[in-house]
Symmetry: C2
Subunit: 200 residues, 2 copies
């Protein structure tokens, strides 16, 4: 379990609210999510929400930050594991994601993808926050692809930054489609084709 999740689970009422927000926003719309639902599911007394957050908007930004922290730690653990050859680390990330989606019956997707889909209704600070998270993930993935190039696993003439950007553009589509089909096939087809054709 990642440090971020441990920290959240052991946390106080504020942390429980944020963790519940993360859970709900991986499943459904942020805009449709009610504060009452968050309080009830977090087991936090009514009225204390505005003790911790000035608004639902401020809560939403805290939810994005918590998910980003959790996910960056997870990516770091998998993609920087020098015991494993670089491209196998990317495969390990994909396999872990497939297992995670299956464990939640393909009902939970990526919080950043979910909120990204709602953007017409959210403001610029949300959009920029989400885009920055995706850019961090792309940078982590690009470093792994560059290590693959150094290790001779990946054609050194390819643009690792662009491949990483391509991966994350498509991967969010794969998560979306896996939720729709309730199967890991889209994730598998996307990652497998990516690795077979681009990175082989």
């Amino acid at each position: 379990m990642s440090v971020a999740v441990q920290k959240i689970e052991r946390g106080n009422a504020r942390d429980r609210l944020v963790r519940t927000g993360v859970e709900l926003c991986t499943q459904a719309s942020f805009q449709a999510m009610g504060i009452e639902q968050v309080l009830r599911q977090a087991g936090v007394p009514k009225g204390s929400f505005y003790h911790y957050f000035r608004s639902k908007r401020e809560f939403g930004l805290a939810v994005i930050d918590a998910y980003a922290e959790y996910f960056c730690t997870k990516l770091q653990r998998v993609l920087e594991d020098t015991e494993v050859p670089p491209l196998d680390r990317l495969r390990a990330f994909v396999n872990e994601a497939e297992r995670g989606m299956a464990r939640h019956q393909f009902q939970r997707g990526c919080l950043v993808g979910n909120l990204g889909q709602e953007m017409a209704g959210l403001d610029d600070e949300f959009r920029e926050r989400l885009e920055n998270v995706l850019k961090l993930w792309e940078a982590q993935t690009s470093r792994c692809l560059k290590e693959a190039q150094d290790a001779g696993e990946l054609n050194a003439t390819l643009d690792a930054d662009r491949l990483a950007e391509f991966f994350w553009i498509g991967w969010e589509g794969a998560i979306l489609r896996s939720k729709l089909t309730r199967s890991s096939r889209p994730m598998h087809v996307f990652a497998d084709t990516f690795l077979a054709h681009l990175a082989a």
Copy 2:
């Protein structure tokens, strides 16, 4: 303008409601969409909604069908245009999509992608309907890729069905990301990398 859109624009109150539903669902959540909003925007008198549809659910299915018909006609026009070399047809589809997104300030995405993202809250008939639409688009794209193979534009040993599946998994991610960044870059990066690495 496609036949499907002409038909919808010239239509009666039912068609106006469906067209408004299509517009709203390319921008935001189906679940958050209110019937009153649809009626107001369509200029249809209150109370007539249930004359045409038994429920919001039945309306939603009609909206998916209308979008699917419109989009299939569009794909047919572009991907079956024998005046143009096959891979250039796919490029033309991508360019048209980029222009369409820009025209609506990147606020409107793909209705199928949007509704797919909400699936945790929708029932199996919705999921299957959306998945079938995506499978139709994949089949249309696969036929185009096979023609590219016949024309010697694409390596004949590649699996066209799987490449088409890969394209649509990732393309929905590109639409999502373009909405988030309000730029056509993700669509461009995805399609360009796909064509350069997979289809070259």
